[in-house]
C-alpha cells in the first residue's frame, strides 16, 4: 500500500490518470506542496507527483526546500524510462516533478513503478 499525493497545476489530471489505471495497492489523493510536505514528513503519505508548465521548479514548490534536494527529482519536459524511475525509487526519491503536457505518459509510468517497488 502506497499513498501518492498530487500537486501543481495538473494535479487533478494526474490523480484522474493514475486512479484510472486501477492499480491495486495505490491510494492517490490531491494535495498541494505545503500540505504534501507535512504529510510526507509525518509519514502519512509516501510519494508526491508535481506538475507545472516546465516540469521543474514550480511543480515541486516548497518541497525542495523542506524535504531536501536528495528526496526530489524533476524530469522537466523529458520522459523517463522505467529503469530510470526504478533507480530513483531505489535511491530514496519520493518527490517527482514533470511537465503538464507529459502527464499522459509520465504519470502512469511513475504509478506502475511505485506499485512495483512496493509490493
Amino acid at each position: 500500500m502506497a499513498k501518492i499525493l498530487t500537486g501543481g497545476i495538473g494535479r487533478d489530471e494526474v490523480a484522474r490518470t493514475v486512479s484510472g489505471l486501477g492499480i491495486a495497492g495505490l491510494h492517490i489523493a490531491v494535495a498541494n506542496d505545503m500540505d504534501a510536505a507535512g504529510q510526507l514528513r509525518a509519514g502519512q503519505a509516501d510519494y508526491f507527483l508535481g506538475t507545472c508548465h516546465t516540469g521543474a521548479g514550480a511543480s515541486l514548490g516548497v518541497l525542495v526546500g523542506l524535504l531536501g534536494r536528495s528526496a526530489c527529482h524533476t524530469f522537466g519536459r523529458g520522459e523517463p524510462t522505467e529503469a530510470e524511475i526504478a533507480e530513483l525509487l531505489a535511491g530514496g526519491t519520493t518527490v517527482f516533478g514533470f511537465c503538464l503536457d507529459r502527464i499522459d505518459t509520465v504519470a502512469p509510468r511513475l504509478a506502475r513503478a511505485i506499485a512495483a517497488a512496493r509490493p
Partner: protein, 456 residues
C-alpha cells in the same frame, strides 16, 4: 477590431510605437540594454531570476551544493522553449517587447557567466541583440512577398477575448459547475455591456476584474469556513516550523540586498512606462494598440495568479523575481513619465521585499487562495493555448489560405506526433513562422501565389 486605438493615457514615447514595427528611440534602446545588464547581474548573484521554475534550484546553488554549469543547464533547459516559442513570436507579432524575450536569456547568461562583469556584459549584449536584431528582422520580414509578421497580428483578437475568460475556468475547476456558470454569466454580461456602453474600451477589462474578484471571494470564504470548523492540525506544527525557518532565511537574504532590488524595480517599471514593453501574455497586444489603462488592469488581475507562486518560491530559495510580484507592470503602464515610474518601481520593490515574510505567513494560512492562484495559472495556460492555436491558424489562413493551413497546421500536428519537442503553447506560433519561411521559398520557386488580402 471593434475598438479604436489610443484612448488611454498618453506617454512621451507613444509616437514611436507603430502597428507592428519595433522602433525604439535611443533612450528606450539604452534603457533596455542597461536593464538587461542589471537583470543578468541579479541572476549571476542568484538574487533574482525571471523563470519561476529556475528559482527553487538557486537554493542549492547559493548553498554550494551544485555548480554554476549544472545550474546553467537547468536554466537553459527550462527557458529556451519559451524564448523561441513564446517571447520571440509575440514580440514579432505585436511589435512590443516582453519579459520572456528579454529576461529569460538574461537569467541563463547571468548564471552562465563566471564573473560579475561578464554577466553584466553578456546581459547588455543580449539587450542590444534584441533591440537591433528584432528591428532588422522586422524590416526584413515585412519586405518578403509572403508577409508572415502582418499575418501574425491575427493572434491578438483571440488572445484578448479568450484571456478574458480565464477567471471563469479557474472558478469552475476549483469551485464546481454552479459557481463557474455564475461567474461565466457575470463576465459575459459585462463584456456585452462594455461593448455597448464604452465601445472604445477593451471589452474584457471589467469582466476580468469581476471574475478574479469572485474567485478570490470564493477562496477566502472557503478558507474562513475551514478555519472555523477544523482549526489547526497538531501534527503539522513541525513542518510549519521548518517552513518558517526556511522562509525567514530567504526573506533575510533578500532584505540584505534591498538597494539592488530597488534599482531593479526602478528599471523594470521605467521600461513598462515607455510603452514598448508588455509584461503579461495578453498585454503586448494592448500596449501595441495604445490601451495602457486596459493593459494595467489585465496585468493587475493576472498578478493574483502568480503572486503566491513567486512569493513562496522566493521565500524558499532566497531569490526574487526579476519583475517582483509583477505589480511594477501596471504601475509602469500608468506612470506619467519614466522618472516617476522609476521612483514608483523602486518603492514598490522595497515594499514587496519587506512585506515578503508576512506575505508568506498569510499565504500559509489561506490554502484555498494558494490553490486559486494555481487554478488561475492553469486557466491562463488553457485559455491562451486555445487562443494561440486558433490565432495561429487564422494567421496561416491569412498568409497562405488552404496551403498555409496545411503547412502550419501540419507542423503543429507533427510536433504533437513527435512527442512535443516544442512546448505546446509555443508550437503554433513557431509553426506560423516556419510556415511563413516555407511559403516564401515556394513563392521564390514560383510554386505559390501569396494571398494579397492579408490582415491590416
Amino acid at each position: 477590431m471593434s475598438w479604436a486605438p489610443g484612448t488611454a493615457a498618453a506617454g512621451p514615447a507613444r509616437s514611436s510605437v507603430t502597428a507592428a514595427g519595433l522602433a525604439l528611440s535611443p533612450a528606450q534602446a539604452l534603457t533596455v540594454v542597461v536593464l538587461c545588464a542589471l537583470t543578468a547581474l541579479m541572476a549571476h548573484l542568484a538574487l533574482a531570476v525571471f523563470n519561476d521554475g529556475v528559482r527553487p534550484f538557486l537554493l542549492d546553488f547559493v548553498q554550494g551544493r551544485t555548480t554554476r554549469a549544472a545550474t546553467t543547464a537547468v536554466a537553459f533547459g527550462l527557458s529556451a522553449g519559451f524564448v523561441f516559442g513564446l517571447g520571440a513570436p509575440m514580440a514579432l507579432s505585436s511589435g512590443v517587447l516582453n519579459p520572456w524575450l528579454l529576461f529569460l536569456p538574461t537569467d541563463v547568461l547571468g548564471i552562465l557567466a563566471p564573473r560579475t562583469w561578464l554577466a553584466a556584459l553578456l546581459g547588455a549584449g543580449w539587450g542590444a541583440v534584441v533591440v537591433f536584431g528584432l528591428n532588422g528582422a522586422n524590416a526584413f520580414a515585412h519586405g518578403l512577398p509572403v508577409d508572415f509578421l502582418t499575418a501574425m497580428q491575427q493572434l491578438s483578437t483571440p488572445i484578448l477575448f479568450l484571456f478574458t475568460l480565464f477567471p471563469v475556468l479557474a472558478v469552475t475547476r476549483q469551485f464546481g459547475r454552479l459557481r463557474g456558470a455564475v461567474t461565466g454569466l457575470v463576465e459575459l454580461a459585462l463584456v456585452v455591456l462594455t461593448m455597448r456602453l464604452w465601445p472604445h474600451m477593451f471589452a474584457g477589462a471589467a469582466a476580468m476584474a469581476a471574475g478574479v474578484l469572485l474567485l478570490i471571494g470564493f477562496a477566502v470564504a472557503a478558507d474562513l469556513r475551514r478555519g472555523r470548523t477544523a482549526g489547526e492540525e497538531p501534527d503539522r506544527s513541525a513542518t510549519q516550523e521548518a517552513t518558517a525557518s526556511l522562509f525567514d532565511a530567504g526573506a533575510a537574504r533578500l532584505r540584505r540586498r534591498l538597494p539592488l532590488f530597488m534599482l531593479l524595480g526602478a528599471g523594470v517599471c521605467a521600461l513598462a512606462q515607455m510603452k514598448v514593453f508588455g509584461g503579461g501574455e495578453a498585454t503586448s497586444f494592448l500596449i501595441a494598440k495604445g490601451q495602457y489603462a486596459e493593459a494595467a488592469q489585465v496585468d493587475f488581475y493576472r498578478m493574483f495568479g502568480f503572486l503566491p507562486l513567486i512569493a513562496t518560491t522566493a521565500l524558499a530559495s532566497g531569490a526574487y523575481g526579476i519583475a517582483g510580484l509583477t505589480l511594477v507592470y501596471p504601475v509602469g503602464y500608468l506612470a506619467p513619465n519614466p522618472y516617476l515610474a522609476a521612483a514608483a518601481g523602486a518603492l514598490v520593490f522595497a515594499a514587496e521585499v519587506l512585506a515578503l515574510s508576512s506575505l508568506g505567513r498569510v499565504l500559509g494560512r489561506l490554502p484555498s487562495l494558494r490553490d486559486s492562484s494555481e487554478h488561475l495559472r492553469g486557466a491562463i495556460g488553457e485559455a491562451l493555448g486555445l487562443a494561440v492555436l486558433f490565432g495561429s491558424l487564422m494567421a496561416a489562413n491569412a498568409m497562405g489560405g488552404g496551403l498555409g493551413l496545411l503547412v502550419c497546421g501540419g507542423l503543429y500536428l507533427l510536433n504533437e506526433a513527435m512527442g512535443r519537442p516544442v512546448v505546446r503553447t509555443a508550437a503554433a506560433p513557431a509553426a506560423v513562422l516556419a510556415g511563413g519561411v516555407v511559403l516564401n521559398v515556394l513563392y521564390w520557386l514560383d510554386l505559390f501565389t501569396p494571398v494579397t488580402a492579408a490582415a491590416p
